[in-house]
Symmetry: C2
Subunit: 222 residues, 2 copies
């Protein structure tokens, strides 16, 4: 069985879990505490980061970006990127927006500071970073709302890896209760549609030991 | 004529300049001072970052990752990624290694602190960050040497975007004279081969006003 090494509340792992499920590619999850730097895991990915995908034939693909592209190439058919080079470029621009910009400006400041530092015992939360994350998220929710008002899904007419990347990040921040949904109704409507997809259910059911999510987290009518 | 918005000593811009030249796709360069946040430029890329590619037909592709993938899809033929999903995954793993890990651990700490902060008047160099960058680079040069000893090029038998991404970052750091080549002979041999490619010449000829490179920077026999 295909295996995916992941860790709790890491958006890149969640992105690949969603992508594999949307593409109907079965996999088993293996929790990897990357902070332990296991030699067997470093042999799979010298960068020491999740996600890592191991195929039945032994093929190893390391990293959220490379796995997403690999899955599209190895299993063509229902695409999650788009049908033309230009539409695929727009999907990838938005994937980068969430994985790089949202990640740096919001997720790292909130999930990184409040949760990962505690789980991995790598330091104490930085209050200034948390304030920055809480301030920055409004701009990103405005952008999601702006896109969702003009397009069926974030990158265009079809559900894509752009929605998946955005949903992966927002679900991690929402686990902390730090997404001000009521101030951003257009983004909230988009997220409600994401949340109701069957691929999202396993993420909403997962809880991190010692850090339960707020009640609205798994509620489809939040 | 195809247009590429770039800025001096930004590895993502250099990566695309190299990729376009290697694929024999002519382009004209347009210097964009992203710190000015020009509305016309933000309309092309709301993230406000270079590189941005504008095709003759008006297609806009924003971001180093999306442009590299777009160029492969829109102009197939001599690939810079590889021929199988698995070999392309290995190329992309290494592109990520340099663009994300090397970028965060080395380039931002050295080029970002010493040069971009001064050019863009966004602060004063952080001595602790510079020390971290100078320490971190050894590990990365060891990794390049390790790969170069075992493979013809970084990702395998063929010259690829992995070599281009690594060369783009290292050329920016080398512009400051901060690459300890003599302590890493295997990495140095690999870089000498990169440096002698015709696609590299325009980068080596470019100088930043007020910040000339050291004499060895453009020297093929360094």
């Amino acid at each position: 069985m295909r295996k995916l090494y992941h860790h709790w509340l890491t958006p890149a792992s969640r992105k690949i879990r969603l992508a594999l499920t949307e593409k109907r590619l079965p996999f088993e999850l293996e929790l990897e505490r990357t902070v332990d730097r296991r030699p067997e895991f470093l042999a799979l990915n010298p960068a020491g980061e999740v996600p890592v995908l191991v195929e039945d034939d032994g093929t190893v693909v390391a990293g959220g970006g490379p796995i997403a592209e690999y899955v599209e190439e190895a299993y063509p058919g229902a695409t999650l990127l788009g049908h033309t080079p230009a539409s695929r470029a727009e999907t990838r621009r938005l994937i980068d927006w969430f994985d790089a910009k949202f990640g740096r400006e919001v997720t790292e400041n909130l999930v990184g500071e409040k949760l990962h530092k505690r789980m991995e015992r790598t330091g104490t939360p930085n209050a200034q970073a948390i304030r920055a994350g809480l301030a920055n998220i409004h701009y990103h929710l405005d952008y999601i709302g702006w896109l969702a008002e003009r397009r069926t899904w974030l990158a265009g007419d079809e559900f894509s890896l752009a929605d998946i990347a955005a949903g992966a990040h927002l679900s991690c921040v929402d686990y902390l209760g730090d997404v001000p949904w009521d101030e951003h109704p257009d983004a909230k409507i988009w997220y409600a549609r994401i949340k109701s997809r069957p691929s999202f259910r396993p993420l909403l059911a997962e809880t991190v030991p010692g850090a339960p999510p707020p009640p609205h987290y798994a509620d489809l009518d939040f």
